[in-house]
């Protein structure tokens, strides 16, 4: 282990927890923990992706017809919004690393704004689906389908975008908490672990959307 030589006894840094020897060790541990959590997120979403792939294989025609009900340009718009938010988030991490405290707050707010735009567009899309009866499972009431089992597509559409949306909401909460702490001036080059970790989480949410968009909106 790299920390062998750095046994710091009786430290006073309030951001260093008692069971760590050094700041570096603490930071790396937190980061590893976050990545492990992200791996579980990948597998959690992954189960849905695998289910989607298998059901798509089973009912290709139904899935193809069903996806025409999605609005491709709204999906693309949301992709752009999320990519932008990822950029502002990574810039926020940079601002924290370089102790630019004001910039950090603004960048975090920009990320949150993107998240809200994303949810707004999603709300618009959802209400359109509700209106047309394109709902999951037994609530599916769309008339005039020529191929059966289209409701399965919408089951997955709502489960996947729903779970993703819950993660966006969680992200908004977490970033909001970061904003409050950033306003208090808690983060600087010496301590920015929470910004970094929530940044990782936010990028993962973006990354999942990167796959959701072509799979749901661009099937051929």
């Amino acid at each position: 282990m790299s920390t062998t030589a750095q046994l710091v006894q009786g430290h006073h840094d309030p951001t260093l927890q008692h069971h760590f020897h050094t700041k570096e060790q603490q930071f790396e541990t937190s980061k590893l923990g976050m990545w492990l959590f992200l791996a579980t997120e990948i597998l959690l979403f992954g189960g849905l992706f695998v289910g989607f792939a298998l059901m798509q294989q089973k009912y290709p025609q139904a899935f193809l017809l069903a996806h025409h009900h999605l609005d491709r340009s709204l999906g693309a718009l949301n992709t752009v919004v999320l990519l932008l938010s990822s950029f502002t988030m990574v810039m926020a991490v940079w601002a924290a690393q370089t102790s630019r405290k004001k910039l950090l707050v603004w960048l975090l707010l920009a990320t949150m704004a993107c998240a809200f735009i994303f949810l707004g567009v999603k709300y618009f899309e959802y209400s359109h689906k509700f209106h047309e009866g394109l709902l999951p499972g037994k609530f599916y009431s769309h008339k005039g389908d020529t191929v059966p089992n289209q409701f399965v597509f919408f089951s997955f559409y709502f489960m996947m975008t729903g779970l993703h949306g819950i993660h966006i909401l969680g992200g908004i909460g977490a970033i909001g908490w970061l904003v409050i702490r950033a306003l208090k001036g808690d983060f600087d080059a010496n301590y920015y672990t929470p910004v970094d970790l929530i940044g990782l989480y936010w990028h993962l949410v973006d990354l999942i959307w990167i796959y959701l968009f072509p799979l749901l909106y661009l099937i051929q």
Partner: protein, 549 residues
């Protein structure tokens, strides 16, 4: 093992993690891994007791095919189905998965690594609370009518029955997060919090076992989570993935379920093996044979264990090709387990063996787990599995692995670390009697079930043909002996709490770090942060006298 400069003599009025802070609130808000481990221990022991009651009821009901006890029919079929389901659910999700990692692992792992705590102490407490919430959901499902699907929740029965499946899957879903957070915490702890001087191969083998377990907990449990969500949604919204009436594929559920639940078998057994790898060198006073192959075999089992889930599905209607592949990989995963057994035997060879209670349990483990593993060969072999699967042979096989393996190892570890955890020595005499009773009772209960199964008695049966009655009765008598053995174990351990602390730092002469601190340990584990100078099982020199005291 560790170069601890001076070890002060044990004084009785010492402060330790148990008495450093007082009151219920200090326990509920603690982030001390030792206290969290103790709280886990009491919760899972309660679960084990509950699951054990269900088990005894199952056996009592099967005493004769008419379910007559004192001239009265004790259960109808529906009650019986609920009881065996609850036995499975409680034992799997509430007891055996968290048993060794969350209870003993939480307590011992940081001590063995020479760390002050786990990597994320607050997350550790959170996972305990999540476990508690999950347990509350489980109990709610039980008192509002129970579940009658079997612990495997196979669709489409689980999507159509009107018992409390949704509530119970919710419980399992929540418990899954507790397991994930525990695993995540341990991986980070092992990677980053080892004491200075402790490289990967100076780490005690218990830590390797917990590490391998944690990999599975992190990588497999989320898939169970999403599978259970899909099951709940299928039940309430008919989303069309598992239910064939609306176009779903019920066998797909089995794939998703076993993708978690087969590796989960290794979540259960790997920590058990890890405990045995500690106890055998300590009580043989001899260094472990083949350290690296034991360590690597743990990780190999964890990874290859992900590739074999389809051996639960040979007759499920999966494709024959898939069955052949899964059978092949199943035989591969048998090899690392075999390696471990031979390595343990080689460790005992030319050792200096003392048969205290932990070692007696470890030897019980060795014998019972061998039977469990060897009967697994029958079930991995395709043509024989067709006859044996879903019979009592399978029931006997997995009880030999889960109970004869994991539970016996858990009890072994509990006896091994009990002095460290509580500061008390239990009665060695009672412990040995309890061990013998448990061993005999276990074999009487389950050996007969191998015969029942190979003769064609299917599992999960309320009624059975008269020809099976003698063996069923035999098994039931065994369950009483087993129950008595486990009860005596509980009495033996709990009664030791009533006397004054008397455990020395190192009652067994172990060489790992947890024996260098006082019993019970102080709040932050070590007086001086330990620095390692050599490996974990070095018995070339006798123990320093003051440590033995």
């Amino acid at each position: 093992m560790a170069a601890v400069a001076h070890v002060p003599a044990q004084a009785h009025a010492q402060t330790n993690y148990l008495n450093a802070q007082k009151g219920v609130w200090s326990w509920m808000t603690t982030v001390d891994h030792k206290r969290i481990g103790i709280m886990y221990l009491s919760l899972i022991s309660t679960s084990f007791f509950l699951g054990g009651i269900f088990a005894l009821l199952i056996r009592l009901s099967l005493l004769n095919p008419k379910h007559m006890v004192f001239g009265k029919v004790i259960f109808d079929a529906e009650t019986y189905n609920r009881i065996f389901t609850l036995h499975g659910v409680v034992m799997v999700f509430l007891f055996i998965i968290p048993s060794i990692p969350a209870a003993l692992g939480n307590f011992v792992l940081p001590l063995m690594l020479g760390a002050k705590d786990v990597a994320f102490p607050r997350l550790n407490l959170l996972s305990l609370y999540i476990y508690f919430v999950g347990a509350v959901f489980g109990i709610a499902a039980m008192v509002t009518g129970g579940v009658d699907t079997g612990w495997t929740f196979y669709t489409p029965y689980s999507t159509t029955t009107n018992s409390q499946v949704t509530l119970m899957t919710m419980a399992a879903f929540i418990l899954g997060f507790s397991s994930i957070f525990t695993g995540l915490n341990f991986i980070a702890t092992i990677h980053k919090l080892r004491a200075p001087g402790m490289g990967w191969f100076q780490m005690p083998l218990f830590c390797w076992g917990i590490y391998a377990t944690a990999i599975i907990q992190v990588l497999a449990t989320p898939v169970l989570g999403i599978t259970l969500v899909l099951l709940m949604l299928e039940r309430s919204f008919q989303i069309g993935i598992f239910d064939p009436r609306i176009g779903g594929d019920p066998v797909l559920f089995q794939h998703f379920f076993w993708f978690y639940s087969h590796p989960a078998v290794y979540i259960m057994i790997l920590p058990g093996m890890a405990i045995i790898s500690e106890i055998i060198p300590t009580f043989s006073q001899k260094t472990i044979f083949g350290y690296r192959s034991i360590a690597f075999s743990s990780v190999a089992i964890a990874l290859v264990g992900f590739l074999v889930w389809g051996h639960h599905m040979f007759v499920s209607g999966q494709s024959p090709l898939a069955s052949v592949i899964f059978s092949f990989l199943t035989f591969l995963v048998a090899i690392p387990s075999g390696i471990k057994i031979f390595n343990w035997l080689a460790t005992m060879w030319r050792g200096n063996i003392k048969l205290d209670a932990p070692m007696l349990y470890a030897i019980s483990f060795l014998l019972l787990f061998s039977i469990g593993g060897l009967t697994g060969i029958f079930l991995g072999a395709l043509s024989v599995d067709i006859h044996l699967t879903d019979t009592y042979f399978v029931v006997a096989h997995f009880h030999y692995v889960m109970m004869g393996g994991t539970v016996i190892a858990f009890i072994a570890g509990l006896h091994y670390w009990w002095p460290k955890m509580t500061g008390r020595m239990y009665s060695e005499k009672i412990a040995r009697v309890a061990c013998a009773l448990t061993f005999i009772g276990f074999n009487v209960t389950f050996m007969s079930q191998f015969l029942l199964g190979s003769r064609g008695m299917p599992r999960r049966y309320y009624n059975y043909l008269d020809q099976f009655q003698p063996l069923h009765a035999f098994s039931t008598y065994g369950s009483w002996i087993l129950g008595a053995g486990l009860g005596l174990t509980a009495i033996c351990l709990l009664s030791s709490l009533r006397k004054a602390p008397d455990a020395p730092r190192n009652p067994w002469g172990g060489r790992t770090l947890e024996w260098t601190t006082q019993s019970p340990p102080i709040e932050h584990n070590f007086d001086v942060d330990p620095v390692l100078t050599h490996g974990p099982y070095d018995y070339r020199k006798p123990l320093p006298v003051e440590v033995e005291a």
